[in-house]
C-alpha cells in the first residue's frame, strides 16, 4: 500500500511536467519553429494513444481471461499501418490537403458538405465515445483505490471494490481542465495542437517504459526463466485452438477499423499530420510500439494467475503484482503508466469530440437561429471557444455518467469493444467516400444511421445491464415478447454478442450505403468534392475554381473572416488575395480561399453555410464538373483511341510489307523476263549470225547448201520477228493502248476461225480436233480477231503439249445465264499442280521437251480476255489432260451496244 498523499503528490508532479511540456510545445509552435514537434517520432508516439488504460491494464486482464484474444486488438492496427500504402496514405493526404478538422468533417465534406451528415457523425462519435471515456475513468479510479488500499494489495486484489465516484469525479474535472487549457486555446488552422501532442508523446513513452519495466521484472524476478513462465499457464494459452474463430476475425477487423475511425485516432493520425514522411515512419514504428506493449502481456497474466489469490481482478494484475511483492517503486511506475494512458486518451478524445460538437452541432444551430453574437469580431470567436470548452466538459461527464450507470460489472475489454463497434460504422462511408465516385450523401446518411441504430440496440443499450436503459425482459426475451427481435440474437442468430452486433450493423450499414447510393444522384457539390477527394494524388488542374462561380461583396466576406479568424489574420488573408480597398466584388478565388480558411477552423459545412450567407449568386457549372469528373473516363477513351490508332498503324505496316514483298517479286519477275527475252532473242540471232558468217567466208559453197542456210536464216528472222511482235503485243495490252476496233459478234465465229488456222498444225501432229457443242445466238462485244488469237493460242498449246497416243482436242461453247463459256480441253498429260499457278505468267512453258515458242502465249491470252471483260482460267479437278475455261459477258441482241459499253 502506498499513502494516498504520496500518490496524489506524484500525480500532481507528473501533471505539472506534462503542463510544462505542453506549454513549451505551444511556445515553440507559435514561433514557427515546429522542429521536433512535427518529427515522425513524435507523430508516431501521439498515435499510440491507441493504447489506453484498456491496453495498460485490460490487455493483461484479457489475456488472463481468454488467452490470445488481446493480440487481435493490436494485430488489426498493425495490418492497417503496415498497409498504409493502400488506404491510410490516401486518407491522411486528403485530410492534410483539404484541412480536415475531424472525421465528421471529412465525411460531411466528401458528401457535398452535408450539414446533416456532419451532425449525425458527431452524435454517433459522442455516444460511442462515452463508454470508452467511462472505461478510462473506471481504470483510473480502480487503480487509485487499489494502490491506496489500506489492507494491502493482496486483499485489494481479491476484494470487489465499489468504485469511488468521488475520485472519478475529481479525475474527470482535472482532465477537463487540462484539455481546455491546451486543447481549446485558439481556433487554429487544421486544428493542430502542438502542445497537447508533445505532452501525449511524453505520456506514450512513460506508459511503454512502465509496462516494459514491469514485464522485465516479472520475467526475471518473479518467474525466473522463460520456460518457467509458461509452466503453469492457463488452458486458454496452452490449448489455443478455439481462440481463432469468428471472434478473432471480428476483433481484428474492429481494431483495424477503430484505429482509423475513433475520433481521437483520426485526430492524431489525420488532422495532426503535416507530411507524408510522418505516416511513412509510423507505418512500421507504430506496429513496433504495439509489439513492445504486447510483449510482456502474457508473462504478466500468467504470473498474476499463479501468484495472486484466485478471484483477483486480472485487469489490475499490472498493479497488484508489484504491490504483492512490496515493490512500491514499480507499483508507482505502473500506476503512472496507467494514469498516462488514461489521461492522454481522455484529453485527445475530448478535444477531438469538442471540435466536432462545436463545428457540426452547435455552430449550425447557432447560425440558423442567429445565436452567434455579431456585434464584435471578438464575440464570435469567444462564442466558438466557449462552445468547445463546454463540449469538453459535456463529453467527459457523459463518460462519467456512463461509468455510474453501467456499474462495475464489466471487464475493461468488453466496454472498449462497444466503442470500437460504434465507430466502425464510419468505415463504409469513409472507404466508399475515398474510392467510389457514385457514393452519395443519401447512401452515407442511410448507412450511418441504420448501422448506428443497430449498434445501439444490439450492443450499446444491453451493455448497461438489466433495467437501466433497456428492461431486462427485452434483453432476454425481446420487445413485446418477440423472441426474433432479441437484441443479442436478431432473427434467432444466437452467437457471440459482439460478433452478432458487428455482423448486423456492418451488414445493414454497407447494404444501405451501396443501395441508396445506387438509387440516388449525388448533388453537384458532392460530385465536385468526390472528384477532389478521390483524385487527390492526381495533379489538379488550375481550372478547379471555374466549376463554381460565386459572387459576394468584399465587405460581407471580410466581416465573416473578421468574426471567425480575428482581424489580424483576416487582413493578411485579404491582402494575399490581392484585394485592394476599392474592390467591391470578390473573385471566385478569394471566396474559395476564405471558405477554405474558415473550414480549417469551423469545419467544411459550417464554413460553407457562413460563406453562402453572403454569397449573392452561386452557380456550379454542371457541365464543367462533369467534364472534370469524367476525366478518368476521358483517359480511358483516349487510351482506347491510342490503342486503335496503333492497331491501324500496325495494319498499314503489314500492308506496306506485303506490297514491298509483291514489288520485290515483280522485280524478280521483270529480271527473269529480261533474261528470258535476251535468251530467246539470242538463240535465233546466233544461228543467223553463224550461218551468215559461213555464207560470207565460204563463197564457193554448194548452191543447195547455201539455199538451206539462207532458209534457216529466213526462218530464224521470222521467228525473231514473231517473238518481238509478241512482246510488243503484250506490252501494248498491258499498257492498255492502242484502242481496239470493237464490235458485236458471235464468239463461235472466233472459234471457227481459230480451228481453221490450227487445222494444218493438228494434222501435222496427228491430233483430232473435236467441236463438241456450240452456243446458239451468243453475242459479245469486243474484237473478234483478238478473241480468235486467244483460241488459236489455246488450241495450238493443246496440240503441242499433247503426248497422248491418240491425241484429241475438244472445243465446246455454251451459254450460261448470260455468260458465254468456252472450254478447250485435251487428253494430254495435264498440268502438274506445281505449275498451275504460274502458267499464265510470262515465259512460262510446259515442262515438255517438244514445246516451242517464247512462253508468252497464255500471258497474252489472259491479258486479252481480261481486257474484253472476261476471264481465262484453268479448270479445276480434271482427271486427265488440261482444260481451259474462257468466259465472256454476253449482250442480249435487243439492247445491244449501251450495255456492252459498260461490260
Amino acid at each position: 500500500m502506498l499513502p494516498a498523499d504520496l500518490v496524489v503528490f506524484v500525480c500532481l508532479c507528473y501533471v505539472a511536467i506534462l503542463f510544462a511540456v505542453a506549454f513549451a510545445g505551444d511556445q515553440r509552435a507559435r514561433h514557427g519553429a515546429s522542429g521536433w514537434l512535427s518529427s515522425p517520432l513524435v507523430y508516431t508516439l501521439s498515435i499510440s494513444i491507441y493504447c489506453t488504460s484498456w491496453t495498460f491494464f485490460g490487455a493483461v486482464g484479457s489475456a488472463a481471461r481468454s488467452g490470445f484474444e488481446f493480440a487481435a486488438i493490436y494485430l488489426g492496427p498493425t495490418i492497417v499501418f503496415a498497409g498504409w500504402w493502400i488506404f491510410l496514405r490516401k486518407l491522411v493526404t486528403v485530410g492534410r490537403v483539404y484541412h480536415t478538422t475531424s472525421i465528421a468533417d471529412l465525411i460531411s465534406a466528401r458528401f457535398g458538405k452535408d450539414p446533416a451528415l456532419g451532425a449525425l457523425a458527431t452524435v454517433i462519435a459522442v455516444i460511442a465515445a462515452a463508454p470508452y471515456i467511462a472505461l478510462q475513468l473506471k481504470a483510473l479510479t480502480a487503480s487509485y483505490q487499489v494502490i491506496t488500499f489500506h489492507q494491502g494489495a493482496i486483499a485489494a486484489a481479491s476484494t470487489q471494490l465499489a468504485p469511488d465516484f468521488t475520485v472519478a469525479f475529481w479525475v474527470a474535472a482535472g482532465l477537463c481542465i487540462f484539455a481546455i487549457v491546451f486543447g481549446v486555446r485558439n481556433i487554429d488552422v487544421n486544428e493542430r495542437h502542438h502542445g497537447v501532442i508533445a505532452a501525449i508523446a511524453v505520456e506514450a513513452v512513460v506508459k511503454l517504459i512502465a509496462l516494459l519495466v514491469i514485464g522485465v521484472w516479472v520475467v526475471f524476478a518473479v518467474q525466473g526463466s522463460t520456460a518457467a513462465m509458461f509452466a503453469n499457464a492457463p488452458v486458454s494459452l496452452t490449448h489455443p485452438e478455439t481462440t481463432f474463430g469468428m471472434r478473432w476475425l471480428t476483433l481484428c477487423f474492429l481494431a483495424g477499423a477503430a484505429v482509423i475511425c475513433l475520433p481521437r485516432q483520426f485526430q492524431v493520425t489525420v488532422v495532426e499530420n503535416s507530411s507524408e514522411n510522418q505516416i511513412r515512419t509510423a507505418s512500421w514504428l507504430f506496429p513496433l510500439y504495439l509489439f513492445l506493449i504486447c510483449l510482456f502481456v502474457i508473462p504478466i497474466a500468467v504470473a498474476g494467475l499463479n501468484n495472486l489469490p484466485s478471484g483477483s481482478d486480472p485487469d489490475l494484475f499490472v498493479l497488484t503484482l508489484p504491490l504483492s511483492r512490496d515493490q512500491n517503486t514499480i507499483a508507482l511506475l505502473a500506476f503512472l503508466g496507467g494514469f498516462s494512458s488514461a489521461t492522454s486518451m481522455v484529453i485527445v478524445s475530448s478535444i477531438a469530440l469538442s471540435t466536432m460538437i462545436s463545428n457540426h452541432l452547435i455552430m449550425p444551430i447557432a447560425l440558423r437561429f442567429s445565436l452567434v453574437p455579431v456585434a464584435s469580431p471578438q464575440g464570435t470567436r469567444s462564442f466558438i471557444l466557449g462552445a468547445r470548452r463546454a463540449s469538453i466538459v459535456f463529453i467527459v461527464f457523459l463518460g462519467f455518467l456512463y461509468f455510474k450507470l453501467s456499474g462495475d460489472s464489466d471487464a475493461l475489454a468488453a466496454i472498449g469493444l462497444i466503442s470500437f463497434c460504434g465507430v466502425a460504422q464510419f468505415l463504409p462511408s469513409l472507404v466508399g467516400g475515398l474510392y467510389w465516385r457514385r457514393a452519395t450523401h443519401g447512401g452515407a446518411r442511410a448507412g450511418l444511421a441504420a448501422g448506428f441504430l443497430i449498434w445501439a440496440y444490439t450492443l450499446f443499450l444491453p451493455s448497461f445491464g438489466g433495467d437501466v436503459l433497456l428492461p431486462a425482459s427485452v434483453i432476454n426475451e425481446g420487445p413485446w415478447g418477440l423472441s426474433w427481435l432479441r437484441p443479442q440474437a436478431l432473427f434467432g442468430l444466437d452467437f457471440d454478442p459482439l460478433v452478432h452486433a458487428v455482423f448486423w450493423s456492418m451488414f445493414v450499414n454497407i447494404a444501405l450505403f451501396i443501395g441508396v447510393s445506387i438509387l440516388s444522384e449525388p448533388t453537384p457539390l458532392a460530385r465536385f468534392q468526390s472528384r477532389l477527394f478521390i483524385d487527390v494524388f492526381r495533379r489538379q488542374a488550375e481550372d478547379t475554381p471555374s466549376v463554381m462561380r460565386r459572387t459576394a461583396r468584399v465587405v460581407d466576406l471580410r466581416r465573416i473572416a473578421d468574426r471567425i479568424l480575428g482581424p489580424a489574420e483576416a487582413v493578411d488573408l485579404f491582402r494575399r488575395g490581392g484585394m485592394g480597398d476599392h474592390t467591391l466584388v470578390a473573385s471566385d478565388e478569394l471566396i474559395s480561399q476564405v471558405e477554405q480558411r474558415l473550414a480549417a477552423s469551423v469545419g467544411a459545412s459550417t464554413a460553407r453555410s457562413l460563406v453562402s450567407s453572403v454569397v449573392t449568386s452561386e452557380t456550379i457549372s454542371v457541365e464543367e464538373l462533369k467534364r472534370l469528373a469524367d476525366e478518368t473516363e476521358q483517359i480511358r477513351v483516349y487510351s482506347a483511341e491510342l490503342e486503335r490508332k496503333s492497331r491501324q498503324i500496325e495494319q498499314a505496316a503489314a500492308e506496306l510489307a506485303a506490297a514491298n514483298e509483291k514489288l520485290r517479286a515483280i522485280d524478280v519477275q521483270k529480271d527473269e523476263f529480261l533474261s528470258q527475252v535476251s535468251h530467246e532473242l539470242r538463240t535465233p540471232m546466233a544461228s543467223v549470225r553463224s550461218f551468215s558468217d559461213i555464207l560470207l567466208t565460204t563463197p564457193d559453197l554448194e548452191p543447195d547448201k547455201r539455199d538451206r542456210f539462207l532458209r534457216i536464216i529466213q526462218n530464224e528472222s521470222i521467228r525473231l520477228t514473231r517473238l518481238l511482235d509478241d512482246i510488243l503485243d503484250l506490252n501494248q495490252i498491258e499498257n492498255g493502248s492502242p484502242e481496239w476496233e470493237m464490235s458485236l459478234f458471235d464468239p463461235e465465229q472466233a472459234i471457227d476461225q481459230a480451228m481453221e488456222s490450227c487445222e494444218a498444225l493438228a494434222r501435222a501432229g496427228g491430233v483430232t480436233l473435236i467441236r463438241s457443242a456450240r452456243a446458239r445466238k451468243a453475242l459479245v462485244y469486243g474484237n473478234r480477231d483478238k478473241l480468235a488469237q486467244v483460241f488459236i493460242n489455246l488450241i495450238s498449246n493443246a496440240i503441242k503439249y499433247n503426248t497422248s497416243r491418240d491425241p484429241t482436242v475438244t472445243i465446246a461453247g455454251v451459254l450460261r445465264k448470260g455468260t458465254y463459256e468456252a472450254r478447250v480441253s485435251d487428253n494430254g498429260p495435264g498440268i502438274p499442280e506445281s505449275e498451275r499457278s504460274r502458267i499464265f505468267t510470262k515465259f512460262a512453258r510446259g515442262p515438255m521437251p517438244r514445246q516451242v515458242g517464247a512462253g508468252l502465249g497464255l500471258a497474252i491470252s489472259r491479258q486479252i480476255v481480261e481486257r474484253l471483260g472476261g476471264t481465262l482460267s484453268l479448270a479445276e479437278g480434271k482427271a486427265t489432260g488440261a482444260e481451259f475455261v474462257l468466259t465472256l459477258q454476253t449482250v442480249s441482241s435487243t439492247r445491244a451496244q449501251p450495255a456492252a459499253e459498260s461490260a
Binding site: 494485430l75 498493425t78 503496415a82 490537403v97 522463460t226 520456460a227 499457464a233 494459452l237 510483449l295 477554405q596
Partner: protein, 89 residues
C-alpha cells in the same frame, strides 16, 4: 545515367509499391484461420507455446517488412506528390 538504369529503377520502384500493397493482405492471411490454426497446436518450443512464437514472429516480420518498404518508398514515392498543400476545399 543510362536509360536502362532509369528503367530498372522505375521497375524496382513499382515492385516496392506492389509489395507495399500486398503486405497487409499477406499479414491478414497469415494471422487468420485457417493458417493460424496450423500453429495453434499444443506444442512448445523451448518451453514457449508454439502459437506465441508464431504470432510474435509474424508480427516482427511484418514490422521488419514495413520498415524496409518504408525505406524503399521514401525514394520511390518521392516522385508522386499530391497537389499543393493548400488545395481548394
Amino acid at each position: 545515367m543510362s536509360e536502362a538504369d532509369g528503367e530498372g529503377r522505375e521497375a524496382s520502384e513499382r515492385g516496392i509499391r506492389d509489395a507495399a500493397s500486398v503486405l497487409p493482405f499477406l499479414a491478414t492471411v497469415l494471422l487468420a484461420p485457417p493458417i493460424i490454426l496450423i500453429f495453434a497446436a499444443p506444442v512448445r518450443l523451448a518451453g514457449i507455446p508454439l502459437i506465441v512464437v508464431y504470432i510474435f514472429g509474424v508480427w516482427a516480420a511484418v514490422i521488419l517488412a514495413a520498415l524496409l518498404l518504408s525505406r524503399g518508398l521514401a525514394h520511390a514515392g518521392a516522385t508522386e506528390h499530391p497537389p499543393g498543400e493548400s488545395g481548394p476545399r
